[in-house]
Structure formats: C-alpha cells, structure tokens
Symmetry: C2
Subunit: 166 residues, 2 copies
C-alpha cells in the first residue's frame, strides 16, 4: 500500500522503524561516549529524521518553536553542531541542509545521492569509490580531515516514475 504521491527511494520502507532505529542507535552511542543527547538535541535529531530529505536550519527552527518558545537560531545550530560532531547527521554542503546519518557506528563518510526531484538523500558506503579515493589522496600526499561527496541528480524511483507515470 505505498502511495506514489511522494516518490522516494525510501517510499517502500517502514519509516517509523527507520526513525526508531536511528534514535535508538543515537541514544546508545551517546551513552557509550558519555555525551549528552539532551532533550533539545534529541528533538532536533527526531525532526531531521522525519524524512530522508535534507532539512534547513531555519525550517528546523520553525518546527521546534511551537514546542520550545525560547528556540533561537543558536539553539538549532548548537544542536546541529553536536549531532555532526557525533556523526549522527550529515551536513549536506551543497544544500546548506542536514540529513540523518544511518552509518553512525560505522564509517561516517559516505557518498550522498541527492535527488533533485523528490529531494531524498541516500547514503551509500561505496567502498570501491572510497578505496580509489584513498589511493588518489595518498598519491597526492594529502592528509584527509573530512570528505564531502555529493551527487545531485534523479533517483531511480523518480526516474522510473518519469518514464512510467501512472
């Protein structure tokens, strides 16, 4: 019973489970690391996980204001800083926006496939790419701190719909 109204590479999945898992993992990681997933941070993470689209800081602010009247830009940006530090979300550089990270416990740096149609962001570990990348960087004598690999285009789901729009 999947609606085709909101095309998405994720439209088939059980999103509640998806979110629950993400939040459980986040809570677990924070306990292990002895860092505080405070109510604000938890709420921001939850809001980010409402969809697989990247969400902007001020949209998060709008969403959180009804719940926390005191919320200001700094409130959001501080929570985002924390979540990024802990590898619980990605900052999508090419969108100035933020998306949940499923890879928390494992490697954080992944390839992001960003659909220009449905706006969902898909993470891919892309081990072969990462291996080639490591080699290239090594050859350049470069020492990596951070990687941002962002591909914009049309996801499989949207493409299928475009070709077959029923």
């Amino acid at each position: 019973m999947t609606s085709s109204l909101t095309p998405s590479p994720f439209s088939e999945h059980d999103h509640k489970k998806c979110v629950r898992e993400a939040l459980d993992t986040a809570e677990h990681i924070c306990v292990i690391r002895g860092v505080q997933l405070t109510p604000i941070r938890h709420k921001v993470l939850e809001l980010i996980w409402e969809s697989h689209k990247a969400i902007k800081a001020y949209d998060l602010l709008d969403r959180i204001k009804p719940l926390m009247d005191a919320a200001k830009p700094a409130t959001i940006y501080r929570a985002l800083d924390f979540l990024i530090e802990q590898g619980l979300i990605h900052r999508v550089e090419s969108l100035n926006a933020f998306v949940g990270c499923r890879c928390s416990a494992h490697q954080h740096e992944q390839l992001l496939l960003i659909c220009n149609r449905c706006h969902d962001v898909e993470e891919r570990p892309a081990t072969k790419v990462m291996r080639a990348l490591a080699q290239e960087i090594e050859q350049a004598g470069f020492i990596v701190h951070r990687k941002a690999i962002e591909i914009h285009g049309i996801c499989a789901k949207c493409e299928a719909q475009a070709g077959n729009p029923n």
Copy 2:
C-alpha cells in the same frame, strides 16, 4: 627562489603564466561558444585566479569595488553564475567560495583537495575515482546532474613544512 612564507602546493610554479593560460583559455572558450566574457566577468575571473585559494563572493566584491564603484552583490553573483555555467570556475560548496578551474575544455567535474592550512585548492581529475563513482551511481540507478567531491585536510606542502619547519 621560492619563498616558504606562503606554503602552497603551487608555490613552485609560475603563477603569472598560470593565470595567463587560464584567461586565454577562458577567452577562447567563450569565443567558440559565442558567449560574452564581458569586462565584469573577465575581471571577476581574473580576481579569482589571483591565487589558488577559494575566494568568497563578498571578498570579490570588496576587491572589485575600487575599480567599479557601481558593483553590488548582484554584480558579483551574476558574474559567478556565468563563470560556473561555462565551467570556468568551481563553486566550493563546503566553503561557499569560488576557485578557478583548469579543466575548462575537458571534464569539469573533478575532485577538489582543500588545504585547511594554506587554503589552496587543488583539482584532480582522479579518473579511477570517477570511474568507480560512475559505477556506483549506475548501480544505484541514479542519473547524475552534478558532482561535488571536496576533500578537506592538509596538503603535501604544508605537511612537509610541519614535519620539517626550516
């Protein structure tokens, strides 16, 4: 006779030649394509090529104002839009800044190595990475419009200096 005061992967090269080539290529490409590299656009490109560091739009604005009193943000952003469209510069998404592109005639999408110390940006075609990437994206059934591959860290030059600071 290379100064070690401004460490850079490019510090050994003849930068004047580098710029001249870039501008010549740009002029040539624009003629071929029948698009106008107007004085404003040319000046912006020249300013961007003053170094291999990514430069911010408002820094460009500050640099161009003494020459063109009328310059406003839109002046700069329009020139930048044109230069990006023509593949003459890269927008560095993770810096909100702009850097000259040496690959104009060839493929435009390259890997960017961004040094956090000297701030120089090095382009690399990285064909193996690109090949692996194409394969990965193909597997995902994704159709690429645009790639941004940005690696932050310390370049070889700066690393050498750090280890051997004479």
